[in-house]
């Protein structure tokens, strides 16, 4: 039995690097410090849902084959394709992503990562207006106003609050954990009193009335000392329950709310009472808190990137932060999902000049999201083969896009039998990056962290990087053979 400390968790973009694992007989048996998702990954990686051998679809069914046969088949499909897409990349290490760029260039394909259905719009906005941001360490030690907009870290980045924002003990700002506990205790007390009252008056209980009010939370809470947590969302999420102030906006109205806040921060008078279902006085409270804080931060998620306006929402959010920097110190950061989606953008930018949706079909990198992005290519039915690695578009792309992906040869490299693998023509199992393979991953604030190899992969299972290198080699051999045949024929 051995204990490995300071392991980086390969689940979400928070990349918590304080995980402690107990290893017994080349298996993780205990996880310390991790969240529910972290435990699920470290204890479940070896489970029954793992693909154990390479598979190729024959007569409509996936049948086990050797690694060499699967790699040859994959190489053949890619070498013969005119406009293949290479999509995924976010749940693997930077080393594999680098080989991916080489492969995409070699076959003249389109290299795209999961940013396209995640924070792609955020990247487009940053390219338009820039971004004032920082590392999570700065926020941990200095931020006294934390705003989560259109995201629910309790569900998607469970330790984000505990490690980087409200509930962490910073050098200059204290944790708000005790205050939160007191709030929970007070709420439990109130519930108990209400329940007693209900029991006593059960026969005379009035009929509950549906309240149309969308906004909850008394404004005075923003006047408390210490770190303040504000959540702006279309529904009361778990994070919203922890917040000092929660604003429930109508769906697709974030742009209006952000513009209103910009106007309020700029000391302009508004001639309306409500914006996006929210009374302006509530927004005035938020604007006051923003202007009066010492160091504020907005974290935003899919609630801004996937709703009406998409990249325009982020553009306005960044502009709001830029305006606020005339009055105080303010930063903004996207809540990146997959553990190395930021790395996929970084590697792609460093190698090609563009972060995602990079088209090599003309022999040089071209970038035009909407045209060269995978979902659009699939919806237009243009691709003639796909390589999907470390992602699951079969489960996460709209149906019509998947319909076209399935019509053409589909290569899947993934440790699990996910939806895309079930639909695939060639399925190559890989080792888990961050558990069975080391490497580098980038946290959501663009800080690179080392991934640790804590156990050996099962026999015959290779890392993504190795599989891609073999496919690349196979593609080069097949292309050389084709050229030799063509020159002979000529």
């Amino acid at each position: 039995m051995s204990i490995v400390k300071s392991v980086t968790c390969p689940v979400c973009g928070s990349l918590c690097d304080d995980i402690e694992l107990t290893i017994e007989n080349n298996e993780v048996v205990k996880v310390k410090n991790g969240c529910a998702m972290c435990e699920s990954k470290f204890l479940g990686y070896k489970g029954e849902h793992r693909t154990k051998t390479p598979l190729i679809r024959k007569d409509g069914k996936l049948v086990p084959v050797s690694m060499d046969e699967a790699v040859h088949k994959a190489g053949e499909i890619l070498a013969n394709a005119n406009y293949p897409i290479l999509y995924g990349w976010s749940s693997t290490n930077c080393e594999a992503q680098r080989v991916g760029v080489e492969l995409a260039e070699e076959i003249g394909g389109v290299l795209d990562n999961t940013s396209v259905v995640c924070h792609g719009p955020s990247i487009l906005s940053v390219q338009e207006v820039g971004i004032s941001t920082c590392t999570l360490g700065q926020i941990r030690h200095r931020a006294d106003l934390i705003i989560y907009w259109g995201c629910d870290p309790w569900s998607a980045h469970p330790r984000h609050l505990e490690r980087y924002t409200s509930f962490t003990e910073g050098k200059f700002e204290d944790s708000a954990w005790k205050a939160y506990l007191q709030k929970v205790k007070a709420a439990a007390g109130k519930k108990k009193i209400a329940s007693t009252q209900r029991r006593e008056f059960i026969k005379f209980r009035p009929q509950p009335q549906t309240q149309a009010c969308l906004v909850s939370g008394p404004p005075q809470l923003l006047k408390k000392d210490g770190r303040k947590l504000v959540v702006i969302d279309v529904r009361k999420s778990m994070t919203a329950e922890m917040a000092d102030y929660f604003i429930q906006v109508e769906p697709n109205k974030d742009f209006e709310i952000l513009q209103t806040l910009r106007a309020l921060v700029g000391d302009q008078e508004l001639d309306v009472d409500k914006v996006g279902g929210v009374p302006v006085e509530y927004l005035e409270e938020v604007a006051d808190a923003m202007v009066n804080c010492n160091f504020g931060v907005i974290f935003f998620g899919m609630g801004l990137t996937q709703t009406a306006g998409k990249f325009r929402n982020i553009e306005i959010a960044i502009s709001l932060v830029r305006d606020l920097n005339r009055r105080t110190k303010f930063v903004i950061m996207p809540m990146r999902g997959h553990f190395n989606v930021t790395g996929a953008d970084v590697v792609s930018t460093w190698q090609t000049g563009y972060p995602y949706a990079v088209d090599f079909s003309l022999g040089y990198p071209r970038y035009n999201p909407g045209e060269t992005s995978c979902v659009d290519i699939l919806l237009r039915g243009e691709s003639d083969a796909s390589l999907i690695i470390a992602a699951d578009p079969g489960a996460n792309f709209p149906k019509r896009a998947v319909e076209h992906m399935v019509k053409k040869p589909l290569i899947v490299i993934d440790p699990h039998m996910n939806a895309t693998a079930m639909l695939g023509d060639v399925v190559i199992p890989s080792a888990f990056a961050g558990i069975e393979v080391g490497g580098t991953a980038y946290r959501m604030d663009n800080v690179p962290l080392p991934l640790k190899k804590v156990v050996e992969p099962p026999e015959g299972i290779l890392p993504d990087e190795e599989i891609l290198k073999r496919i690349l080699e196979e593609v080069r051999i097949i292309k050389a053979q084709k050229m030799a045949q063509q020159s002979e024929a000529a």
Partner: protein, 133 residues
């Protein structure tokens, strides 16, 4: 009076159960349980005569899917339904990328109706029915 159909706005997104399920494996029971469901407002469920944990049919211009309706536990969300990311949500999501590559995963208009007798499809059955594999 019980309504036949209810017009709502469809949101899709993350839940912690979906996160735990996906890390267990997409073919795991946890993932199926976490993703083949829809969070609805308690008041809306009453309007439709839908009981907690019974099946509903959600339809958009892009398709329809049977899901288990669960009352949203953290306050009212009238006119909103929330499906965790997964193949069930994507069977009905809007694919409009508005020329920037991002489909409209949130904010699609949808209709919900009670469907207590219609079966929930497993991931393999859903993929088979949609893509023939």
């Amino acid at each position: 009076m019980v309504q036949q159909k209810l017009r709502v706005i469809l949101l899709t997104g993350r839940t912690i159960e979906q996160g735990v399920g996906k890390e267990q494996g997409k073919s795991s029971h946890e993932y199926f349980e976490a993703c083949s469901m829809v969070y609805m407002d308690g008041g809306d469920m009453k309007k439709l005569g839908v009981k907690n944990n019974t099946n509903v049919l959600v339809t958009t211009p892009h398709g329809s899917v049977v899901l288990k309706a669960v009352k949203y536990p953290r306050g009212p969300t009238p006119g909103l339904i929330y499906i965790p990311y997964g193949p069930w949500a994507n069977a009905i999501c809007s694919d409009a990328t508005t020329s920037i590559g991002m489909p409209s995963f949130k904010g699609t208009p949808a209709e919900v109706e009670a469907a207590p007798d219609k079966p929930l499809l497993s991931m393999a059955e859903l993929l088979k029915s949609e893509f023939g594999r």
